[in-house]
């Protein structure tokens, strides 16, 4: 008959697990949150302050909620913190797209996104030493064009494609209807595609 040696099991404390889960969650979202906020407020220091405020608000109020709820809560808190920042800056009006912005030259009948994408040459072939520099250049151009988008279009676009939220979640975070989200996204995509084409970016 053999003897079995049972070692005591060290189970992680629920508190430590919860802290670790919160750390992991914040680590996963903080960079995108910073970049998105920086696009909106156009100032890195202010963007950092806003993201920090949103992180602390989430931790203080919702750390005990299930971690599945954190992404949506965090985006909502971040949106509110950004709004608060604009209120404090007394330039709130600049945050919202005016009707002129929404109905600006996005709907250019002469530009066809489908055509642009379908006829784009495949540059995914060989990777040369120049590709790194090219990618960096493309990134700078994309960032600059995104920062030029009207605020609501940019927010909708980045929430949908960067945060990978669905239309309903994006509408919840932005506090608008799902139809508005679709409109904002569509216009943002068209504006970006047109701007990138104009700057000679080959897809």
């Amino acid at each position: 008959m053999g003897y079995s040696l049972e070692l005591p099991r060290h189970t992680a404390s629920p508190i430590l697990t919860s802290d670790q889960a919160l750390t992991d969650f914040l680590k996963g979202v903080e960079k995108r949150a910073f970049k998105r906020t920086a696009f909106t407020v156009r100032d890195d220091d202010s963007a950092l302050d806003i993201v920090q405020e949103a992180m602390i608000r989430l931790a203080e109020r919702y750390a005990d909620r299930p971690s599945q709820e954190w992404p949506l809560l965090f985006q909502r808190i971040l949106a509110n913190a950004t709004m608060d920042w604009f209120r404090r800056q007394k330039v709130r009006n600049t945050l919202f797209s005016s009707i002129e912005e929404l109905e600006s030259s996005d709907d250019d009948p002469g530009f066809d996104l489908l055509e642009y994408l379908a006829t784009a040459g495949g540059s995914s072939g060989t990777e040369s030493a120049e590709d790194g520099a090219y990618r960096s250049q493309v990134m700078t151009i994309i960032e600059s064009e995104i920062s030029e988008l009207p605020a609501r279009q940019r927010e909708a676009f980045l929430l949908r494609y960067w945060e990978e939220m669905d239309v309903a979640e994006t509408a919840h975070v932005m506090g608008c209807s799902e139809g508005s989200v679709k409109t904002h996204c569509s216009r943002a995509v068209n504006s970006l595609a047109k701007a990138l084409k104009a700057r000679g970016i080959v897809l």
């Binding site: 914040l26 950092l48 994408l117 990777e127």
Partner: protein
């Protein structure tokens, strides 16, 4: 790496939504995808902010634990929750003090009575009658020197 959506074989018959989605994903890949590259200073500040947030969560958890504790280990301050014997116990020091004072008073009274009784007993049991002390001649006799 930025992956162009050119191989998606998008045709005009495809839903424009799919084209938008493909383009959106391509743009996001161009931004650095899920984890964009940031400069070291920004990363340090984000890391510090994250630690502050976790500390804030810990602080709130401690405060909540402190709030919950009195309800468990004491009976609370609400009058309805205090048992009758606990309220009675609050008066025990006053009762003990009163009883102590009464006892001391009784003891002093007994001492005085006993002292008076001793004097009376000595006077009454003496050969000399007590009225002799009221006699001026006897007082004079006591003052006079004895032979």
């Amino acid at each position: 790496m930025i992956k162009p959506p050119s191989k998606l074989h998008i045709t005009l018959a495809d839903d424009a939504v799919h084209a938008e989605h493909a383009f959106g994903k391509w743009v996001i890949a161009g931004l650095g995808g899920e984890s964009p590259v940031l400069n070291a200073q920004v990363e340090r500040r984000l890391s510090a902010a994250r630690w502050q947030a976790v500390e804030a969560a810990q602080r709130i958890r401690r405060l909540k634990a402190l709030d919950a504790r009195p309800a468990v280990i004491s009976y609370g301050s609400a009058a309805g929750l205090t048992p009758w014997w606990a309220r009675l116990a609050a008066f025990m020091p006053v009762v003990a003090l009163t009883l102590g004072l009464i006892c001391i008073d009784q003891f002093n009274l007994t001492q005085r009575i006993e002292a008076a009784a001793e004097v009376d007993a000595a006077l009454l049991s003496d050969d000399l009658p007590p009225s002799a002390y009221a006699d001026p001649g006897f007082a004079e006799f006591l003052k006079s020197p004895r032979p």
